[in-house]
């Protein structure tokens, strides 16, 4: 085990995969000379040169499309978006080109590309820089959506994403880059589509992903002090969704709260609720509740911003509700 930041774990995954496979290259704004806007690509230009660590103009649509085209003929691009907020300009390439190519060509052309970068709100960045878009991409058949919450998951999942034959939307937590954690030494590849139980418990299942995992774990600690043991299930991959792990946990706890950073309406949590009510209806002792970001553009003011975000107190409140303790 080595202690790494989330940022350095991603860097290690990129470096190892680029060493392993000459078809893997990194492309995006400021990934090379500047060493990465968030320093995820630090040192890669020196090791791999400008043909494999490619600085682009500010043209999200264009370079996302370049990545798709390169992937169509067998390269393995990792396309970095400086943030997923800017990637909205490129969503046509992800939805209409990357996701559909295999189907439209009846399996002749795949797009083994990874689109990655930070998502979610940081602190007081305002409405256009504080958005969680995973539900957008998870809605699209043909895409996979991955959101690691820890350094170990970041490394193992990014390695899987790079090796995956399909287009992967890999959303990193903007607030997680400095988080430190134990990362196993040597080759550690975490399959896509596999959730992880971050904390075992018997009284309630908290389903979460990305930044919400830390929020849920803090809530679980508070609850434990009151004698309530929450099981925290980190989805890790939004699509494919590991329904089995969620259902097993709910069968064990009989209560469920879903936590996410994104907006409530048509969010990822709605999909989880659909799965639980359909396949674990008889197991439930209470309706499934959701804790989400407020359905508003993110305010700049720090108090309003705090009010808009999912936090441990809101999760604790929802857990008390499903336990009928409030």
């Amino acid at each position: 085990m080595t202690t790494l930041t989330y940022r350095d774990a991603l860097n290690a995954a990129l470096r190892e995969e680029m060493r392993r496979d000459p078809n893997v290259f990194l492309m995006g704004e400021e990934v090379g000379v500047y060493q990465g806007a968030y320093k995820v690509s630090r040192g890669l230009l020196d090791e791999f040169g400008p043909m494999r660590v490619v600085d682009t103009p500010i043209t999200e649509l264009g370079f996302a499309g370049v990545g798709v085209g390169a992937a169509m003929v067998g390269l393995r691009p990792v396309i970095e978006f400086m943030t997923w907020n800017f990637a909205l300009l490129a969503i046509d390439q992800l939805v209409n080109s990357a996701a559909k190519m295999r189907y439209m060509s009846a399996g002749q052309v795949g797009v083994p590309a990874v689109f990655r970068g930070p998502g979610g709100a940081a602190l007081q960045l305002g409405a256009q820089h504080s958005q969680a878009f995973e539900a957008y991409y998870a809605h699209i058949p043909g895409l996979k959506v991955v959101m690691p919450a820890t350094p170990a998951d970041a490394k193992g999942l990014l390695k899987s994403a790079i090796r995956d034959p399909d287009p992967v939307v890999f959303i990193e937590g903007e607030m997680l880059y400095n988080v430190k954690g134990e990362v196993p030494d040597g080759e550690q590849v975490i399959p896509l589509g596999l959730a992880d139980i971050k904390r075992a418990g018997r009284d309630v299942t908290i389903v979460c992903h990305s930044k919400s995992v830390a929020v849920s774990l803090r809530a679980a600690e508070q609850l434990a002090a009151e004698g309530i043991e929450a099981e925290v299930v980190d989805l890790r991959t939004i699509r494919p969704l590991d329904e089995a792990t969620v259902l097993e946990s709910v069968a064990h706890t009989h209560r469920c709260v879903v936590v996410e950073e994104g907006w409530h309406f048509a969010g990822v949590g709605a999909q989880v609720v659909d799965v639980v009510q359909r396949d674990a209806f008889d197991q439930l002792d209470a309706p499934v509740l959701r804790v989400t970001g407020a359905d508003v553009p993110m305010p700049y003011n720090k108090f309003l911003e705090r009010a808009a975000k999912a936090d441990p107190e809101k999760v604790v409140g929802a857990v008390r509700d499903v336990l009928y303790q409030s």
Partner: protein, 374 residues
């Protein structure tokens, strides 16, 4: 005697060259006739309800696809817009497979899942018809990037209409191609109309070739109704791409004799019957037929015979498509992800279908579970 032998020696290669040239020229006419007859038949099939959705015919632009694709090698990449039947046929995709795809049938190029706008043939480097205006231009740039990355001497050609040049994807893609010196030919088929909007109603600059100056890119304006002119211009552009890794913007002036798609008229609110008739005087198939007659390569009877041969081939393709089976119902869920089998058939979820084996414990967990719903 020695003198005769020397003369014969000199003349023989020239006769061979003439014969090869005649053969090539005849081949181009055959391809253009094939596209013309194929599209006429496709239009007929659409009217009969045998082809669904949108169907954008290529009649009037045949010389562009035939002349430009004649300049390519089999290992070059071709990326097209949604008006790509002609390019597919010129690339040698069998008419049966193209027609079957238009009919949505199982033996079609995309097994009926793509349709008229999404023809693919990877074996021929034919990387798709793409239906969002301009969005495929960066894909071509990406393929050219891959060529440079691998240091081969292939070339990518990207076809698009003049309406696409006002689209951001066009600018972004050409800028990067010029910046990075990528081997790509951007071939704008300027047929004057983006759907029903004339170029001068959509574009601040009518001279599309001038756009290249924004990227310090070599450009050329080409008469797209003359197949030989097209071939020669494309030869120059391909040579630049292959040997100098320099991209080119070709503005090819052409005209579509039909409506934008089968659902709109040949003329109407946006252009006059007289205008269409005027352009029909430079029908690329007729122009090239006259050229071959003038050069003594073919006579009228030979051209009629060639046309009859092509009509028969198209009739065969039509009959093949009509009688071909529909895709199996199980095809609905295949080809969304790689290596997957439909979950309803108990197939393995693709999370484990990666190049490398997942860690041991993880594999056990996965295999012990029901397939994941994607």
């Amino acid at each position: 005697m020695a003198g005769t032998a020397a003369r014969r020696h000199q003349r023989a290669p020239s006769r061979q060259a003439d014969a090869a040239r005649a053969e090539e020229y005849r081949g181009w006419l055959r391809e253009m006739l094939l596209i013309r007859r194929f599209e006429e038949k496709a239009g007929e099939a659409y009217s009969l309800g045998k082809i669904g959705g949108f169907c954008h015919l290529y009649i009037g632009q045949e010389a562009v696809a035939v002349g430009s694709i004649a300049a390519l090698r089999p290992d070059d990449y071709i990326v097209c817009s949604y008006r790509e039947h002609g390019h597919a046929l010129a690339r040698g995709i069998p008419p049966r497979a193209v027609m079957a795809e238009l009919f949505g049938k199982a033996p079609g190029t995309s097994r009926g899942k793509g349709g008229s706008m999404h023809l693919f043939d990877v074996g021929r480097g034919f990387l798709g018809g793409h239906a969002i205006v301009g969005a495929h231009i960066p894909l071509a740039t990406g393929m050219a990037f891959a060529i440079k990355y691998r240091d081969t001497d292939q070339v990518t050609v990207c076809y698009f209409g003049e309406a696409a040049v006002n689209n951001g994807a066009f600018h972004e893609a050409l800028n990067m191609a010029a910046l990075w010196k990528l081997p790509c030919v951007y071939l704008c088929e300027n047929n004057r109309y983006g759907m029903g909007t004339a170029l001068e109603r959509a574009s601040a600059i009518y001279d599309i070739s001038e756009r290249a100056s924004s990227y310090d890119m070599i450009n050329e304006v080409v008469d797209g109704q003359d197949v030989l002119t097209m071939k020669n211009a494309m030869d120059r552009a391909v040579e630049r791409a292959r040997t100098q890794k320099a991209p080119t913007l070709l503005e090819v002036r052409t005209y579509r004799f039909m409506g934008h798609s089968m659902s709109d008229p040949i003329h109407g609110h946006y252009r006059t019957r007289e205008e269409v008739e005027e352009h029909r005087k430079r029908d690329p198939v007729a122009l090239w037929s006259h050229r071959l007659i003038d050069e003594g390569i073919m006579d009228e009877a030979a051209i009629r015979a060639l046309d009859a041969e092509v009509v028969t081939e198209v009739a065969d393709a039509y009959e093949f498509a009509e009688n071909a089976p529909e895709p199996e119902g199980s095809e609905l869920y295949t080809d969304v992800y790689a290596g997957e089998a439909d979950e309803r058939t108990g197939g393995q979820a693709d999370g484990s279908a990666q190049g490398e084996a997942p860690s041991e414990g993880a594999t056990d967990r996965l295999s012990a579970r029901p397939p994941i719903r994607l």
